[in-house]
């Protein structure tokens, strides 16, 4: 009985491996081509003309692109920080207090989450115009904080809900006032989830095109939009290099988030 079933499993897993391989090829072939092309000496990615760092050097010299990149990093880190702060406050109050309209307010968070980007983009634009806010750095930041917020709230709220509610009572029982319960129990236990939310917001902000293209002005260009306008006139090898670097960054983040979440206790 045993050898037979094992045989079957191994036969199946051989097929499974093949299928999985095909799917991953489907997923990663384009990315692999892009990464390869970033090292291709040829200007057009039709043929391989030898390994070269020259596009990397060229990118380094492209100050407009570099500026857009730093702008993007600035917006992403500020937006991630702002969204994490605000989201943490909202998640904590949803968890800790039983106030009127609590259900409604947690539902509203989901509405933002589910809304199509284009709807949010137009909404932001209308609001900024109505308030007379100049499109640029601030409008971009406010928009990014807003669309990252629901992800933060959901991540943190789920984590808070997973805690034993008696932990907070135990701390209180041992003489901890509300502030100490927060700083010594809630915050340290929430820290991995906070870091995860920050990273999530950071990536969300970094690769947003739709909303950003509506709410930014000519004075403040960010990377996705810059790239978008560059490829309109054909893919430049520098864009390959940039994409390769971004893939590298996401790879690191993707590895970091589960590791942080797993370290929760």
């Amino acid at each position: 009985m045993k050898p037979l079933s094992r045989l079957r499993v191994s036969g199946l897993s051989g097929l499974g491996l093949l299928l999985a391989g095909l799917v991953y090829l489907w997923l990663y072939l384009p990315i692999m081509l892009l990464v390869m092309n970033s090292f291709n000496a040829s200007k057009y990615g039709h043929s391989w003309q030898g390994f070269s760092w020259k596009w990397y050097e060229k990118l380094w010299g492209n100050s407009a692109l570099i500026e857009a990149f730093t702008n993007s990093l600035t917006i992403a880190s500020l937006a991630a920080t702002g969204a994490t702060l605000l989201g943490a406050l909202l998640a904590l109050s949803l968890h800790r207090y039983r106030f009127r309209l609590r259900k409604l307010s947690s539902g509203l968070v989901f509405v933002v989450l589910m809304s199509p980007d284009i709807v949010l983009a137009i909404t932001f634009l209308i609001v900024f115009m109505a308030l007379g806010i100049q499109l640029g750095f601030w409008s971009l930041l406010i928009a990014h904080i807003t669309f990252c917020l629901p992800f933060v709230v959901i991540t943190l709220y789920a984590q808070l809900r997973s805690f034993d509610p008696y932990l907070f009572e135990a701390a209180q029982d041992l003489g901890a006032p509300e502030s100490a319960i927060f700083t010594r129990i809630v915050l340290p236990m929430l820290r991995p989830a906070i870091a995860a939310s920050w990273l999530l917001s950071f990536t969300l902000s970094l690769d947003d095109v739709i909303i950003s293209s509506f709410v930014t002005g000519p004075g403040y260009e960010i990377l996705p939009i810059r790239v978008f306008s560059m490829v309109k006139v054909g893919v430049s090898p520098e864009v390959n290099v940039l994409a390769t670097l971004l893939i590298l960054i996401s790879l690191v983040l993707v590895c970091l988030v589960p590791w942080l979440l797993k370290r929760k206790a």
Partner: protein, 370 residues
């Protein structure tokens, strides 16, 4: 005992959740240094009492007094009591040492004193070598001990334990029962223990409060509760009981009455209070109060004659169900007699049954179908 020695006092406490009244005009007095158990089925209000004492809940009316001070409006962080939670509620991100030190840090005790007190209490619960472990690296019994250590290190006036042993397996529970009791004697702290396990309550407590549907049923020593239950609920919740309905016929003296049991057996019963002829009563007989004899040995001694309907060998005892001619079933539990190792009954065998006179307990009749 006098009120002065009460370390915890609840007077006329009423507590509602939403519209439901969990406790009404409830009063309780717990003596300094005793092991006090609140026993009852789930939903009887026992946990609410504990939470009122701890300060996690506040009474709608009435007072909570701890060590002579009215703490009714104080939060849990300001009361000199500590709780051992059913789930232990150890802080997962802190080491055993830091868990135990938490209360002392909150009280801003000096660093060196924290060090020595935590060490001392960890030694006491035999976890001296585990100070740097995390809760997740401990077994259930060890977590339980950390939870206890974390509470007693603060030298509370009262230690509250909420079903604290129920998560442990049977063997470990027995061991922890005796450890708890030992610890309580060693520390001299008042323990208030909440449980639904009557065996646990009987074996550990100095006094037991039996609760049912938010109403206190009886307060007393384990012996009083077991041997002289005040009503049918207490009698049936604690151990097994045979309940016989009886009517008092006449008094023989202050405590002995002639009574008619189950409408057909005229017997003499012993009561601990006065009844009038015509009063309806229940005669409560514990399984171990009954004596069974083979018909041939019994002769024509007064007693019941019934058929053995079931017999169950438990190792230490032989438990039988005897059915009387009118259908009433009596449960008996007999210890084995070393001199008569083969004693046993066959199913449907007719036997003679009686109780050890004076061991019965008589209470006023209650309407069973309440």
């Amino acid at each position: 005992m006098s009120e002065a020695s009460a370390v915890v006092q609840l007077s006329s406490v009423t507590k509602r959740f939403e519209q439901q009244e969990v406790l009404r005009e409830f009063s309780l007095s717990i003596h300094d240094g005793e092991f006090f158990t609140i026993l009852g089925p789930s939903g009887c209000g026992k946990t609410t009492i504990l939470r009122l004492i701890a300060g996690f809940e506040h009474a709608d009316s009435g007072q909570v007094i701890i060590d002579g001070t009215d703490v009714s409006t104080l939060g849990a962080e300001k009361r000199s009591v500590n709780t051992v939670f059913q789930s232990y509620a150890l802080f997962p991100h802190l080491t055993v040492f830091e868990n135990v030190a938490f209360g002392l840090r909150m009280a801003r005790v000096a660093r060196t004193e924290i060090e020595s007190r935590v060490k001392e209490v960890l030694e006491m619960v035999q976890l001296g070598d585990f100070a740097q472990r995390r809760p997740e690296q401990l077994s259930g019994g060890q977590r339980q001990r950390v939870a206890i250590a974390r509470a007693v290190v603060n030298r509370p006036k009262v230690l509250l334990l909420d079903e604290s042993l129920s998560a442990l397996d049977y063997q470990l529970r027995l061991k922890m029962q005796s450890e708890l009791k030992h610890l309580q004697r060693q520390l001299g702290i008042t323990f208030v223990y909440v449980t639904h396990d009557q065996e646990e309550a009987l074996s550990m407590s100095d006094r037991i409060l039996v609760m049912h549907q938010g109403q206190p049923q009886q307060v007393g020593t384990p012996r009083q509760i077991y041997e002289s239950p005040r009503n049918l609920f207490v009698a049936s919740f604690i151990g097994e009981t045979n309940v016989l309905n009886a009517k008092i016929l006449r008094a023989l003296d202050d405590y002995r009455y002639e009574a008619e049991l189950e409408g057909r057996y005229q017997r003499i019963i012993h009561a601990d209070r006065r009844y009038q002829p015509g009063d309806d009563v229940h005669v409560l007989l514990r399984p171990e109060d009954l004596r069974i004899e083979y018909l041939r040995d019994a002769g024509d001694k007064p007693g019941f004659v019934g058929e053995v309907k079931d017999r169950n060998y438990t190792g230490r005892t032989l438990d039988s169900i005897i059915e009387l001619p009118d259908g009433l079933q009596l449960r008996s539990s007999e210890f084995f007699d070393e001199d008569d190792p083969d004693f046993d009954y066959s199913i449907n065998e007719r036997v003679w049954v009686d109780w050890v006179h004076g061991w019965e307990h008589v209470i006023p009749a209650e309407n069973l179908n309440r």
